[in-house]
């Protein structure tokens, strides 16, 4: 067996400094070589111990996590996994950290005495291994600065959305989506629904962050929200999202079905409902991420006449999700991240051929089936 991955744990909580090494102990391929109680000690220990991966808490006294991360990516480029808390501030800081080059993040461990800890341990171990394999961190290309606010257009594009764009994305997603959304024009005529694998409590801040750097409207989805042109809805963590086609363009429904492929939200749930409801006016995009969630769903969209796109492997942080779809022949097109926004804009300039008559009658004709009581 090869040498274990050397991990440094930086956290100001004494408890976490004990707990995180313990939950990683099970995995023989990972070795926690040291802990540090704040950023400045952390930097010293990096110098000393040369870890391959660092887990980093963001809220720390003296030198906080973001400053630490800045210095790490400047001097050492060791991949960092942020261990983040469930709070608005925590989520906001987490996205800043990702923009600064953090590899990924996990939620803080909970419930020592329950089965959930195992889940978290497995997730953390998997992400550490991926990070170690990815090697020295590279700053994500051309991310808009954290304080940047993209101006919104005076008004939303008129009419029904030309197409429904469903996006499934996991590891590496926050940066990739920020990048892509910041390139979409305000008059983008498609309507977007996103499933990003992310723990509960983080998606609201994530949607806000995307909204800030996008010219289109981005928000966390609520049941009954409309699919409007120039709008993107982000599925909240720990729920599934489905779409429903109505004459006015469509709406979304949040459901609490069990996890699929180990995920909630699951990309496959979204893609399956997109395939069924929107058929040829659907565009499904499977982007960077670990695992295979969304691959089968992409196949379903393709089978029902929709356009399917996989992000090119080279532009992914982790390429296993799109690769699974490409290998099974479910992706109509393979597009690098840099070209993705342009591709979507072109696709959404005109309605898909068969969706024309659906959007023809804009005025309420009758109460849709699903709403009758």
């Amino acid at each position: 067996m090869s040498e274990p991955i050397r991990v440094l744990v930086v956290d100001d909580s004494a408890l976490m400094r004990k707990l995180i090494p313990q939950i990683l102990q099970r995995d023989a391929s990972i070795q926690v070589v040291g802990t540090a109680m704040d950023g400045s000690f952390g930097l010293k220990k990096i110098e000393e111990l040369k870890p391959q991966v660092i887990t980093l808490d963001l809220e720390m006294p003296r030198m906080d996590g973001l400053e630490t991360l800045r210095q790490i990516s400047r001097k050492y480029r060791t991949p960092v996994i942020v261990v983040s808390a469930h709070s608005q501030e925590g989520a906001s800081a987490t996205f800043k950290a990702l923009a600064l080059g953090a590899f990924d993040f996990v939620a803080k461990p909970v419930d020592v005495a329950s089965g959930r800890l195992e889940e978290i341990a497995t997730e953390l171990a998997a992400k550490i291994k991926l990070a170690a394999r990815a090697g020295p961190s590279r700053l994500p290309a051309e991310l808009p600065p954290a304080e940047w606010r993209r101006p919104k257009p005076e008004r939303r594009p008129a009419g029904s959305p030309t197409r429904l764009v469903a996006i499934g994305i996991s590891t590496g997603g926050p940066n990739a989506l920020q990048y892509m959304f910041s390139q979409l024009p305000g008059e983008f005529r498609g309507s977007i629904v996103v499933v990003q694998h992310m723990p509960e409590g983080f998606t609201e801040m994530f949607a806000r962050r995307l909204d800030e750097c996008a010219a289109i409207e981005v928000r966390e989805a609520r049941s009954g929200d409309l699919l409007l042109p120039g709008r993107a809805l982000i599925c909240p963590g720990n729920r599934h999202i489905k779409v429903r086609n109505i004459p006015q363009g469509g709406t979304v429904v949040l459901v609490d079905k069990p996890r699929l492929n180990g995920h909630r939200p699951s990309v496959d749930v979204l893609f399956a409902s997109v395939a069924e409801e929107f058929r040829s006016s659907a565009v499904a995009v499977l982007m960077t991420g670990m695992g295979e969630d969304g691959a089968e769903g992409l196949g379903a969209v393709k089978a029902s006449g929709g356009m399917t796109i996989a992000q090119s492997e080279a532009s992914c942080v982790v390429d296993s999700m799109p690769r699974a779809a490409i290998e099974r022949g479910y992706a109509t097109r393979v597009v690098p991240l840099e070209a993705l926004a342009r591709t979507l804009v072109t696709l959404c300039e005109t309605p898909a051929p068969s969706s024309k008559e659906e959007s023809g009658s804009a005025v309420l004709g009758g109460v849709p089936k699903g709403l009758q009581v």
Partner: protein, 700 residues
């Protein structure tokens, strides 16, 4: 099925409770800081960080109630709040510390934690304040339609239909809730077009309290309301017509894009899309990189948490080693005298010298392990002073000094309780109410000072106030009244002895017995604990000026440098630090005053004490010149008459239990290298003896 083995989880919990205590302490300090500087944003960030860590740690341990409460608190602790809430914030932080403390205590004992409702209410009040005026308006019936439903409503309105918001209160006593709900649905559907209906189908009927609907209907409002009031099923009904501009305003964007411009033209058109960026700004604020304030909080990274009992075990072993060292010394000197010419002597001397140097270092290092700064102790008192002062309506400032003085952890822990009694007492009885202070020409705000410093082998802890001071007469009178002392002895008491009477059980000088300082029980406890850790307490007081409590604590209990001497053939020891000098006195220099033997030593008069008489009543030694050890400091000196001095040695103190120490004159014992047992005399007890027993009556 547990992921971590049980003992691991238990270990983590233990660590959690320990670090949580530190977090609470930090919270208390920050609360007090905020009280003083309500606008200190840095301080607030510190609080948030603390609460944040507590949240994360408690969630990790599965203490969800605590974690959620901490989460709620964390989310409201924004820097805007500092500006709005001001002093109320400090109150919330302190009450949070109390609530968390109670919850932790419950978790530790595996009890149901308190709900923390009080704190929640506090938090709610905190965030509601600025919005009070706004939120009352729409309280009556709130209809929260989804975008899709609002779209349907808007469309119906744009076609000229009248749309009504309907809220029906379901009768909770209805016999068949499911049937009742169905009845309501039927009525609604037969009254017009139902555009929206909450709750949706499939919700268990038992849990439905209110049915909300949006209804497009050509029927008049009253007719609908009448139909909806189904006897025994609906207790009350609200039916209100939706003004079309209301809907349209909300959904302008969506309408324009979906219905085309002409449908929405009735409403104000061309409003820019608003995205509420103001709200966002709040969440964006970075947490900053503030430098830690407290000097002691900058503790180093390589901290090892070790169970105190393990260190004690090491200390005990070092103690045994020290005994071993003196055994070796004796063996060597015996060898010396037996083989004065043997060349091995030098080697032995060298080696034993080396050994004692290393042992010395070893002992010092081990002792240092147990040393912690007094700050750990002092930290508790700001909160206590604040709470007590607040309760009593007094204004009291606490000043701390000497926090960096190091002290044995065991002693420090033992001191916490007695010291807090002394501090409470100072706030309660020492500091006068503001009116009285002003009348006495003092500042309205009283001051309590706590200080700590080293003095020889001791640490002195001072608690002084600038309050009313102790009144000797009052205390003595009370003591006589309670039978603590007799009227005769009262006259002989020194100032300090008289003040010390306040520590007698059942004696308290304040007119009103308050719940803070208790009923004279508290100070009694102080004395008991101080005796146990061999500390002495001196009180200095000036009426009207204030009182100072001086607690003199041995640096460590484990070993002392001692002077050995013999009295009546027995070996005794005194802490060397307590010995001022050793002198010889001829019988002619010893005088008798008031039934006591005294010695004039230079310009001072020294009371003499003969231990053999005290203990056994044996006849005094009849040497011509008496050997006198002068013990104590300043006005509390006395001379101990001994037969011979046996040398100076480092003694490892072994505690004695009550049964062994019959007369209470010995504070401990030690074993010498040759196995001889030596009793270590308790100076405080000797002094007490001196003042109470008229020594000379026996000899006269």
């Amino acid at each position: 099925m547990n992921f971590l083995p049980d003992d691991r989880a238990a270990e983590l919990r233990e660590l959690f409770f320990e670090s949580a205590q530190e977090l609470l302490q930090a919270l208390n300090e920050a609360g007090l800081e905020l009280e003083k500087h309500p606008a200190d944003e840095e301080c607030l960030r510190g609080v948030r960080r603390t609460v944040h860590t507590l949240k994360g740690d408690s969630a990790a341990c599965g203490y969800h109630a605590l974690s959620e409460l901490a989460h709620e608190l964390e989310d409201v602790l924004t820097t805007e709040l500092v500006r709005q809430a001001g002093g109320a914030l400090a109150e919330v932080v302190l009450s949070a510390a109390d609530t968390f403390h109670a919850m932790l205590a419950a978790y530790r004992d595996n009890l149901q934690p308190p709900s923390g409702e009080e704190l929640r209410a506090h938090i709610r009040r905190l965030i509601q304040k600025p919005e009070q005026t706004r939120s009352t308006a729409s309280a009556e019936a709130h209809f929260d339609w989804t975008e899709y439903e609002r779209l349907l409503i808007a469309e119906a309105a744009s076609r000229g239909l009248a749309v009504y918001n309907i809220a029906l209160m379901m009768n909770p006593e209805a016999l068949l809730p499911a049937a009742a709900l169905q009845l309501v649905r039927n009525v609604l559907h037969s009254s017009g077009t139902v555009l929206a209906l909450h709750p949706e189908d499939g919700t268990p009927a038992e849990h439905v309290g209110v049915v909300q609907a949006a209804l497009a209907s050509a029927q008049p409002q009253d007719w609908i309301a009448d139909r909806c009031r189904i006897p025994h099923v609906v207790t009350s009904a609200i039916v209100e017509k939706i003004r079309s501009e209301e809907v349209v305003e909300v959904e302008e964007d969506a309408l324009q894009s979906l219905l085309g411009a002409e449908a929405a033209s009735g409403a104000r058109a061309n409003r820019p899309v608003t995205t509420a960026p103001e709200k966002r700004a709040a969440a964006e604020r970075s947490s900053g990189t503030g430098a830690g304030k407290s000097a002691a909080s900058g503790s180093a990274e390589n901290v090892l948490r070790v169970d105190a009992s393990r260190i004690d075990a090491v200390i005990n072993l070092v103690g045994e080693l020290i005994i071993g060292k003196s055994m070796l010394h004796r063996a060597i000197s015996e060898f010396d005298s037996r083989f004065p010419k043997d060349p091995l002597r030098n080697k032995f001397a060298e080696m034993s010298g080396f050994q004692s140097r290393v042992l010395d270092e070893l002992q010092k290092s081990v002792m240092k392990i147990r040393m912690v700064p007094v700050e750990q102790l002092f930290r508790r008192y700001p909160r206590i002073v604040r709470d007590v002062a607040k309760l009593l309506g007094k204004d009291v400032a606490l000043e701390l000094a000497g926090q960096n003085t190091d002290m044995d952890k065991g002693i420090l822990d033992a001191l916490a309780e007695p010291l807090s009694h002394v501090v409470r007492n100072a706030v309660d009885h020492g500091i006068e109410p503001p009116e009285q202070r002003i009348a006495a020409g003092k500042r309205a705000r009283g001051t309590i000072r706590m200080n700590a410093y080293h003095q020889g082998n001791h640490v002195i802890l001072e608690v002084s106030d600038d309050g009313r001071g102790l009144e000797r007469e009052k205390i003595v009178a009370r003591a006589i009244e309670r039978g603590v002392i007799s009227a005769e002895t009262a006259g002989q008491l020194s100032e300090s002895e008289a003040f010390n009477l306040i520590f007698e059980s059942g004696l308290t000088t304040a007119e009103a017995v308050s719940e803070i300082s208790g009923r004279g029980v508290g100070l009694d406890v102080v004395r008991t604990v101080l005796e146990r850790i061999k500390a002495t307490l001196t009180i200095e007081s000036k009426p009207g000026k204030g009182t100072t409590f001086l607690i003199c604590v041995p640096l460590t209990l484990a070993s002392i440098q001692a002077l050995l001497f013999r009295i009546g053939g027995r070996l005794y020891a005194l802490p060397l630090a307590a010995v001022t000098e050793i002198t010889r006195a001829g019988n002619e220099e010893i005088h008798r005053v008031e039934g006591r033997e005294v010695l004039q030593l230079r310009d001072k008069i020294l009371t003499l004490m003969r231990l053999d008489q005290l203990v056994r009543g044996a006849p005094a030694a009849t040497g011509k010149r008496q050997l006198v050890i002068v013990v104590g400091e300043a006005d509390r000196r006395f001379g101990l008459v001994v037969d011979s001095v046996a040398g100076e040695e480092e003694l490892v103190v072994k505690a004695l239990d009550e049964q062994t120490v019959g007369n209470g004159l010995a504070s401990g014992a030690s074993i010498l290298g040759d196995g001889t047992v030596v009793l270590i005399l308790d100076i405080a007890a000797l002094m007490g003896m001196l003042s109470r027993v008229p020594v000379l009556e026996a000899t006269a």
